[in-house]
């Protein structure tokens, strides 16, 4: 890595840590410089925020950490914080003489990894290296996930044998994970190596993404390759790997879109005819419901109005215990009033944070809806309108800025007789980084419902002109999209069998593949994505309850603003499931949700249904820039 500016840390980490100090007060600058030097750090001081940004931009990897004052004349410290996080993804520590809780809170919300009070003591500065180290570790984890994902994809490419692919990938995943664990035992040397080959996490801002898309179009989708894109984009600090992983996600997204489109068209007829198939025909139930959902959704029943956060209602009766995937964090901010969210009957399990009614809540964490309950899926009244909420956060602590949570609740009035559990899915689109102005974009997009219909909603109010189930957001939003795919009849607990997934894929593949034209080997990707995530493990361990948990819609790369459609993979090819139906929706790196459903029939719906249960631990691992929306369904026929 270049380090003409300063060499990376030497072996005796944390000595040599490259710190950039920004403060308008010259006295403090001097003192901090001296203190940091005493800690054996390499210090650069700066009196102006603008100057600091220049320095940072000039030497992309020239610094390890930034310490900045909050009150500065030329730029607000928080703004600087955002910029740094967005562009360089470096840990930033804020300082101020003012220690009011609200200020500290603001700092944390903007992404500061620490907040120090002036006067600052030496001992506080001694430990700042932990923030750097922490980030390194997480980056490595991410990178490895990406790598394994890519590896899987390679394996998979061209393969129609999802089964094999699935298994393979899981193996790969395991092995990669092992590798990761080993690697995680850092000793200084490793760390130093890492630091020298540091792959800073890239935040794909709107602009950046636009550039990316433009480059892709210019090159021609089939001829596209990371190197070419990188060259065309002409973004100095972007690496080939960044582009590669982004490209992969983009492909997934497109693939999904493609499917949605196809499905939509094919479903046109179905939609109405089936309408609330009250009879619980196992076979078609899902399909019908889904189509219905689609219709409804398509018609904007699902409306994203401002930020309505739809709480996911998890099946009330289901097991509380299932709601593990849900990460609920008290909503930090309320953006707009939300209307209508969750319908009554839901018990929002674990979704305490979601406080939807009329509040735009921006929960920090992704919310995962659980749909516990094994047997039936009950669909609660679907309340899509305004079920769009923007939540801020992603699953991980670090991310998330805007999330839209949608939890459509489908009322079980029809068809799914045995459907007991309510399917709520909340879709969180959380933009991983605050920087994304996804919110705005998404809002505009509006009618794209982010819906994750979890199994069975009879009336899927899937709005969205196309692809009802299309997730609109594709921006690094951890969206949880529970796919309603399984609605019918008894939906038994998720069978976590991987094979089911593959079956699903097969189903899907058969139906969808013709339509999925793009080069994106979507199914492959799905698989890879799926597998990639630790979710696979979860899958195997998921209980028999149907849980729509944690649909964390991983951040979806925001492909084109216009694309906000939530791909609701639900109704896709669900064959009747006898066994557990697993739907894994893997988003981004981390989560997969498994939803086991029984007797779910998947009509020719090719929507990937995703219902996956995201185990809590996945959330920890969530750290991705964009999700790969993968819906993974296992259909056991």
């Amino acid at each position: 890595m270049e380090s003409s500016f300063s060499s990376p840390r030497n072996d005796s980490f944390p000595a040599g840590l490259r710190v950039l100090v920004v403060d308008d007060d010259p006295t403090w600058l001097k003192i901090l410089e001296k203190m940091l030097k005493k800690c054996s750090y390499e210090v650069t001081t700066c009196g102006l925020a603008t100057e600091a940004l220049c320095l940072l931009r000039e030497k992309k990897n020239g610094y390890d950490i930034v310490i900045s004052d909050v009150n500065m004349p030329d730029m607000d410290g928080f703004k600087l914080l955002e910029h740094v996080g967005l562009e360089m993804d470096l840990p930033v520590i804020m300082m101020s003489v003012d220690g009011e809780t609200s200020r500290v809170m603001k700092g944390v919300q903007h992404g500061a990894c620490d907040y120090l009070l002036k006067p600052i003591r030496m001992k506080e500065l001694r430990n700042i290296w932990q923030h750097v180290f922490r980030r390194k570790i997480h980056e490595i984890k991410d990178i490895e996930s990406h790598e394994s994902l890519e590896g899987i994809q390679l394996i998979r490419s061209g393969s129609d044998q999802y089964d094999e692919g699935y298994f393979l990938s899981s193996d790969d995943l395991t092995s990669s994970r092992k590798r990761k664990d080993v690697d995680n035992k850092y000793d200084d040397k490793d760390f130093a190596d890492c630091s020298s080959t540091k792959k800073a996490r890239v935040v794909w801002s709107v602009d950046l993404h636009q550039k990316f898309v433009k480059a892709v179009h210019q090159i021609g989708f089939d001829k596209v390759g990371p190197k070419k894109i990188l060259d065309l984009m002409n973004v100095p600090w972007l690496t080939r790997e960044n582009v590669a992983s982004h490209l992969q996600k983009y492909r997934l997204y497109l693939g999904r879109l493609q499917k949605e489109n196809d499905l939509t068209s094919s479903f046109g007829g179905m939609k109405r005819s089936n309408s609330p198939s009250k009879d619980a025909q196992g076979s078609f139930g899902l399909q019908n419901s889904i189509s219905i959902q689609q219709n409804d959704l398509a018609h904007g029943s699902f409306r994203v109005s401002g930020n309505n956060l739809i709480a996911q209602c998890v099946d009330p009766k289901s097991h509380e215990g299932d709601a593990k995937g849900i990460v609920s964090e008290p909503v930090a901010e309320i953006k707009k009033g939300s209307n209508g969210n969750i319908p009554d009957s839901q018990k929002t399990r674990s979704l305490q944070m979601v406080d939807f009614n009329n509040s735009c809540v921006e929960p920090k964490n992704g919310v995962i809806g659980n749909v516990p309950d094994s047997q039936k899926i009950r669909i609660s009244p679907l309340d899509f309108n305004n079920s769009y909420a923007e939540t801020k956060k992603g699953l991980n602590g670090n991310i998330p800025d805007s999330q839209k949570i949608m939890t459509p609740q489908v009322r079980p009035s029809h068809s799914f007789t045995s459907v007991e559990s309510e399917v709520n899915f909340t879709e969180f689109e959380s933009t991983i980084r605050t920087k994304y102005s996804w919110n705005e974009i998404q809002l505009k997009k509006e009618q794209k419902p982010l819906i994750q219909l979890n199994s069975g909603f009879n009336k899927p109010p899937l709005s969205g002109p196309h692809n009802h189930f299309q997730v609109d957001r594709l921006q690094s939003i951890p969206s949880i999209s529970p796919r309603p795919s399984i609605v019918e009849g008894d939906v038994t607990g998720p069978a976590k069998s991987k094979p089911s997934y593959s079956e699903y894929i097969n189903n899907q593949g058969s139906q969808v593949s013709p339509t999925i034209s793009t080069a994106d080997s979507f199914p492959d990707q799905i698989k890879s994505c799926v597998v990639n995530h630790q979710v696979s493990e979860t899958i195997s361990s998921s209980t028999s309850n149907m849980k729509n948990q944690g649909f964390n819609l991983s951040s979806v790369t925001d492909l084109e603003s216009a694309q906000r459609s939530l791909i609701v993979g639900s109704a896709s090819p669900f064959a009747s499931l006898d066994d557990d139906f697993q739907i894994c929706w893997f988003q981004g790196d981390c989560y997969g949700m498994n939803l086991g459903l029984q007797n779910i029939e998947f009509p020719e719906y090719n929507d990937p249904a995703l219902i996956s249960e995201v185990p809590a631990h996945l959330y920890d691992a969530l750290r991705f820039d964009y999700p790969c929306d993968v819906t993974h369904q296992n259909i056991l026929s």
Binding site: D24, D25, P26, T27, W28, K30, I31, K34, M35, K37, K38, D69, N71, S96, V97, D98, K118, P119, R121, M122
Partner: protein, 139 residues
């Protein structure tokens, strides 16, 4: 002999500054930072501080005289001043700053005027500089 006496004097002065609450622990930290690489560290920092604080006080006075008084701005300036005072461990000044800010919040301008005068006194270099110089000249 004289040297020792001077030293003692300096020590006493220093102690009194602490006792009177002009200085706090931060000052000690600064002293600890001083080492062979920066033998005059404390003096340098103090110099910077005086320069900065006199500027801040000037700005504050000007802002105070403006009509109508912009308390937000005043608050900001005061915040800055407080920050810098904390750097050197100027306890009293810092406390004054805090009080200022409260006045600001309450929109109490008269209180400001009074406090400002007081702060000036606290910052008065003669209080502290004299303390610095003897020390450095002794070494």
């Amino acid at each position: 002999m004289e040297r020792n006496q001077l030293r003692r004097q300096v020590r006493l002065m220093r102690q009194s500054l602490f006792d009177q609450g002009f200085l706090d622990e931060q000052f000690v930290q600064l002293e600890e930072l001083q080492d062979d690489a920066n033998p005059n560290f404390v003096e340098e920092v103090a110099t910077l501080y005086y320069r900065d604080s006199s500027r801040s006080l000037q700005i504050l006075e000007q802002a105070l005289q403006r009509n109508p008084r912009d308390f937000n701005k005043l608050d900001n300036y005061m915040q800055q001043f407080k920050g810098s005072s904390s750097s050197i461990g100027a306890k009293k000044v810092k406390a004054d700053c805090q009080q200022f800010r409260e006045y600001c919040n309450a929109g109490n301008a008269e209180g400001w005027q009074g406090k400002l005068g007081q702060s000036r006194h606290h910052v008065d270099p003669s209080n502290q500089e004299s303390h610095q110089q003897p020390e450095s000249s002794l070494d």
